[in-house]
Amino acid sequence: MPDLLEVEHLRVRFRTAGLVQALLKGLDDPFIDAVMDVSFSLAKGETFGLVGESGSGKTTLGRAIIGLVQAQEGSIKFEGKELVGLKDSQYQEVRRNIAMMFQDPIASLSPRKKVRSQIAEPFKIHNIKDKDPDQEARRLLKLVGLHEGFLEAYPHQLSGGQARRVGVARALSLDPKVIIADEPTAGLDVSVQGEILNLMNRLQRELGLSYLIITHNLPVVRHVSDRLAIMYLGRFVETGTTTEIFEKPAHPYTLGLLAAVPEPDPDKRRDKLELEGEIPSLMSRPKGCEFHTRCPFAQEKCLSEAPVYKEVAPGHFASCHFPFPDPADAKAVGRHAMPET
């Protein structure tokens, strides 16, 4: 049986200059690749995490799946049906099955609409007549743990956590199979983060949802996702199960990301900085391994030759010439000590 969602060699390009402008500036290639050669699959009931810094293309990938940006190459298959190349009108059906939650819980709600019509909106969009939108709104609110008083509230009257719940309710309205959640916990207080993640987890159990979680928050993604992909400059540099990636990261970038998360313990302060510099511009991708400009372990070969994305352990892929085989070996070759997780 094929997976629910299968993405293969997906490429999303954006035009940076118009035809005339490109000609005047003498650009051969007025495009940037926001997502490059990305492949993954999502099974029913699974949670897949996409992790990377801003500018890594993780949000673009999410938006390409739901058709908000157009993919140029590769394929996205939902239940075996090809989505790349579909016209906007043909995407309607897809959007009943895949829902998206956006970063800002309050700004992603239409500011002058009451919660009641926010939740009932999808029924109107898809012209669903066999369900009473009002009753559905009540049912969905209850499902996400809000009382009926909220039906009459406007988005600016809600706290971040409440608005996020409304967002979840709206995403669930058409019984989707997949939910793409872009930074579901951004801007929320730590205690509220837990509530939202618990809610999402309960809904996954009850409704058999699959999640694609886009985030830069590693501590959170560790608790919620089954598998992870680490993105850098639009590519997957490492994928594997969450446990495997947190315990045995193979790519130096993953290691750097993990080490950047501060431990809430004053006895475990860090003196060293694992990852220096910033993510390069998509306009000027580095030659060879694209991470070599920031990689503390870069060697001769990395400057000239692009690494192959290959399996380093069963189900664990990485694109690095010198992947860490094992934490113990990493120490042995004089690399930085692994973070204690």
């Binding site: 829902a99 998206m100 909106e121 109107k124 008083g149 909220f150 509220v192 939202i196 618990n198």
Partner: protein, 298 residues
């Protein structure tokens, strides 16, 4: 030691921050300028609407014996050179002024919103074409354009309305377009698109409610401008046809006798001043109330 329990309904039963329904009205009235603006606007609107009730005389009735009379209990603001009661003429002139202003601004608003949203939300080429149209119309000076049209079509109330619509629509359209462009990439629009909403629905139920408040405030400030245009054209004899009174024609009538009987000009000028101040104060205070940057949270 675990004191916290895993649960996901925490905080969900919290109260909702609610404001009283007419909070904006109280906020408006708390501002002295806003209260004054609202009072003046209501004064103008009520006197114009009730012109037939409040007028002591028929505005067309001639009283040749009492020509150019000064203010008295019989004629509150005196009479003009044909012996017509100036107060009654001013009340009816207000009707004309408000009619011209509301109809033309109303139509411009609707047209401007529609074209602006199309330009802002639609494809790039449509935006370019519409912008070109807006800007070429806006390049004409209003009065010259009005004079040209009146020369061709002939003076009438409808001509004035038409000219005002032609010249103010592009301004509204441009503002609506710019606002649409900045709203278009907001997360809530993306969220609607991700739910499957199409252009028409996004424009009508999500963009429109967010555009209308700032434009209405602008309208409020444009109303006196239109009234002045109407008065100006009527003053030149290019507006409404006599005997229909207009503040502009009252001014013109009084203008010839300004040395001996200045009260006609004064009586014709005061409502113009009241209208301009009223709508401007109201518009500015409304902007203070609705502009989220000015709004204090606590």
């Amino acid at each position: 030691m675990t004191t916290t329990t895993p649960e996901d309904t925490a905080g969900a039963d919290a109260p909702i921050k609610r404001e009283p329904r007419l909070a904006w009205l109280w906020q408006l009235l708390r501002n002295p300028l806003g209260a004054l603006g609202l009072f003046l606007v209501l004064l103008i609107v009520i006197s114009a609407l009730g012109a037939d009730v409040f007028s002591p005389y028929d505005y067309k009735a001639l009283d040749v014996k009492n020509r150019l009379a000064g203010p008295s209990w019989a004629h509150l603001l005196g009479t003009d050179n044909l012996g017509r009661d100036t107060f009654s003429r001013i009340l009816h002139g207000g009707q004309v002024a408000l009619y011209v202003a509301l109809v033309s601004i109303g139509v411009s608003l609707v047209l401007g919103l529609a074209l602006g949203m199309l330009a802002g939300y639609g494809p790039r080429w449509l935006d370019n074409i519409l912008l070109l149209c807006f800007d070429s119309v806006r390049a004409f000076p209003v009065i010259m354009f009005a004079l040209a049209v009146i020369t061709v079509v002939g003076p009438s109330l409808e001509t004035i309305i038409g000219v005002v619509i032609m010249t103010t629509t592009p301004g509204y359209a441009r503002i609506a377009r710019n606002a649409t462009l900045s709203l278009k990439n907001n997360e809530f629009i993306l969220a609607e698109r991700s739910l499957g909403a199409r252009g028409k629905r996004i424009m009508i139920s999500h963009l429109l409610p967010n555009l209308i408040a700032p434009l209405l405030i602008l309208c409020s400030m444009d109303i006196p401008v239109v009234i002045t245009i109407e008065a100006g054209l009527s003053f030149l004899g290019l507006g409404v046809k006599p005997p229909t009174p207009s503040w502009g024609s009252i001014l013109y009538d009084g203008y010839s006798f300004i040395r001996n009987t200045p009260w006609i000009v004064i009586a014709g000028g005061i409502p113009l001043i009241i209208t301009t101040l009223g709508f401007t104060f109201l518009g500015e205070s409304l902007r203070d109330v609705f502009d989220p940057k000015m709004k204090k949270d606590r």
